[in-house]
């Protein structure tokens, strides 16, 4: 999708107007490529600026994410209620002026719990994603750059991980590790590293074959230096996009685990857990489940839009992956 969007957005890409090399040597003049006139090198900040200009949705999404982060940080200031404050006189009350999103089975204010819940849900999106990206990047680089047996072992291990339906793998690891926030982080990291490793490996292989790495090797630059100075920096755009697209998938997996009652336990409030407890009251108090569901959706949607927008400007994926 990114590819095509870009085509329309960059008017310079008029198919007729790009001079090609003259393969037959028939005597036409040398064409200086149009691209060099435009200036192909764009800095990362320029790219972001271009995305901001061309993709309003991505900008709105970034703002939404920022708002959720602010909500998570300033939750105590934003609401008069306490997260765990029970009010048995007002159980399951529908949205009202006092409780804009209603109350739950214990009379707790749902808006308050959603605000506090964003702390765990955002952490659960970001922390395991960072962990899995670290693990996946290291292993993917090792596999792609070192090749041979290292490659075979790492990639077979990745195959095994990717063979699992992710939900079942997460359930299994969760079962092994036991409940708790830290274990949720670890579980999600273990579930996601394999796909990161695969993509990074592919990227590493591609960059490894490129001429500048070849040149670096010829003049005798040490292996680890090549990885650090040449391969890693070139993989950065891919990693950024992967990060933005993996955060929502971590949030979704966590919410599903919590929904099944695995992982995060009361009194911690995660959105998935709120949906889970609210499900018993689906028919008489649907807001109990739907409000946190909507919060999950909004955050996930924002990350997806942002990731799409970033991918459009960075375009690290090959077309036919």
């Amino acid at each position: 999708m990114g590819k095509n969007k870009r085509k329309d957005l960059i008017p310079e890409n008029i198919p007729e107007n790009i001079p090609e090399n003259d393969p037959s040597g028939s005597g036409m003049t040398d064409n200086i490529s149009l691209r060099s006139q435009i200036g192909e090198e764009e800095k990362f900040s320029d790219l972001l600026r271009r995305m901001a200009r061309e993709n309003k949705l991505a900008v709105i999404s970034a703002v939404v994410i920022l708002l959720f982060v602010l909500a998570a940080v300033f939750a105590p200031v934003l609401t008069p209620y306490k997260e765990t404050e029970m009010d048995l006189l007002h159980r399951l009350s529908p949205p009202s002026a006092a409780h804009p999103l209603g109350t739950d089975e214990g009379g707790r204010d749902i808006l308050t719990r959603v605000l506090y819940g964003s702390r765990i849900s955002l952490l659960v999106g970001v922390v395991p994603t960072l962990l899995s990206m670290l693990l996946g990047t290291v292993l993917g680089l090792a596999a792609g750059f070192l090749g041979g047996k290292t490659d075979a072992v790492i990639m077979r291990l990745a195959d095994i991980m990717l063979g699992f339906p992710s939900m079942l793998l997460a359930m299994l690891i969760m079962y092994t590790l036991g409940d708790g926030l830290m274990n949720v982080f670890l579980t999600l990291a273990l579930v996601n590293w394999a796909s990161v490793a695969r993509i990074v490996r592919a990227e590493a292989l591609q960059i490894k074959e490129s001429e500048y790495v070849e040149a670096a090797r010829v003049i005798g630059v040490a292996r680890y230096k090549i990885i650090l100075r040449h391969i890693l920096p070139n993989a950065v755009p891919t990693l950024i996009v992967l990060f933005t697209l993996n955060v929502p998938s971590s949030i979704l997996t966590e919410s599903s685990l919590s929904f099944l009652g695995l992982g995060i336990q009361v009194p911690d409030a995660s959105w998935g857990l709120m949906v889970n407890t609210g499900r018993q009251y689906l028919y008489n108090a649907p807001w109990l489940s739907f409000v946190p569901s909507a919060a999950i959706m909004l955050v996930v949607l924002s990350f997806n839009f942002l990731g799409d927008g970033l991918r459009d400007v960075l375009d690290p994926y090959q077309k036919n992956q």
């Binding site: 329309d8 957005l9 008017p11 008029i14 198919p15 007729e16 107007n17 790009i18 001079p19 090609e20 003259d22 393969p23 037959s24 040597g25 028939s26 005597g27 036409m28 003049t29 040398d30 064409n31 200086i32």
Partner: protein
Amino acid sequence: MGQNMLEVRHLCASFFTQKGEVKAVNDVSFEVPRGRIVGIVGESGCGKSMTVRSVMRLLKYPGKIVSGEVMLDGRDLMRLSGREMAAVRGAEVSMIFQDPMTSLNPVMKAGKQVSEAVRIHQHVSSEEAKRRTLEIFEAVGIPEPARRYDSYPHQLSGGLRQRVMIAMAMICRPKLLIADEPTTALDVTVEAQILRIMKNLCGTGTSVLIISHNLGVIAQICDYVYVMYAGRIVEQADTFTLFEHPMHPYTCGLLNAVASLRLGREKLDTIPGVVPNLLHLPEGCSFSLRCEKCSGICASKMPDLMKTGEGHMVRCHLSGKGGES
């Protein structure tokens, strides 16, 4: 019936981009006489490809035909409905493209792709279509037609693929064949074979319009040549006149570049500068920025096409004075 198979009058076609309208084809007129081979020559990006695609009405987004007439055998193609135009494509005008590697469908057998062209336009059985396909395969010099019929494109060499393309274009015996850089992607020996096939086809009553940036190809098979630059025809003449007495400085530059190659001179003659950006054309003659003989009037006024001899027209203020060098 007139003597011209194709007459294009005042054709304008543009790309509509966010930065504005890019006039890629600007008031272009030309004709292809019956049974003749006509060439359009120019650098990449001069609008020649866009011109012939306009004839087929196959412009790619955001390209659009703005105005003009395209008379094929007396019928204006611009006035046809989409459905009628589809019936003309492949039956009356057909086209072959630059890169035979990508212009065949990779998941369809070569023979099927050719017989498809017959079956779209004529109600024939699949056996009949296959028989005619094998026949045309033979005619364009594809060895072992029966085996090639069942080959997939990736199993064929570039030369064979281009022959398949020609077979596909010719199977309905069109009035006009348009060839867009038909040999650019091929090596020189194959090029010669393909050109010979096209020349032979011409003998069977089909007129040919060929575009190329390769003057060698044009010299070998064309009867009449148009030179295009920045969306306009800048010179037109029969092949002999054009090569012997070029008038426009641009044409001269092109020929000198080839000549210097052939003569093995130490320094290659080139035309200085690059094709101008069509969004920002110079005010006067579009070639003025690169022209060595550019004078006052050139920078302020676009010259008209002027007749300088029998069938020879040039778009240059200096024509007749100092074009030929």
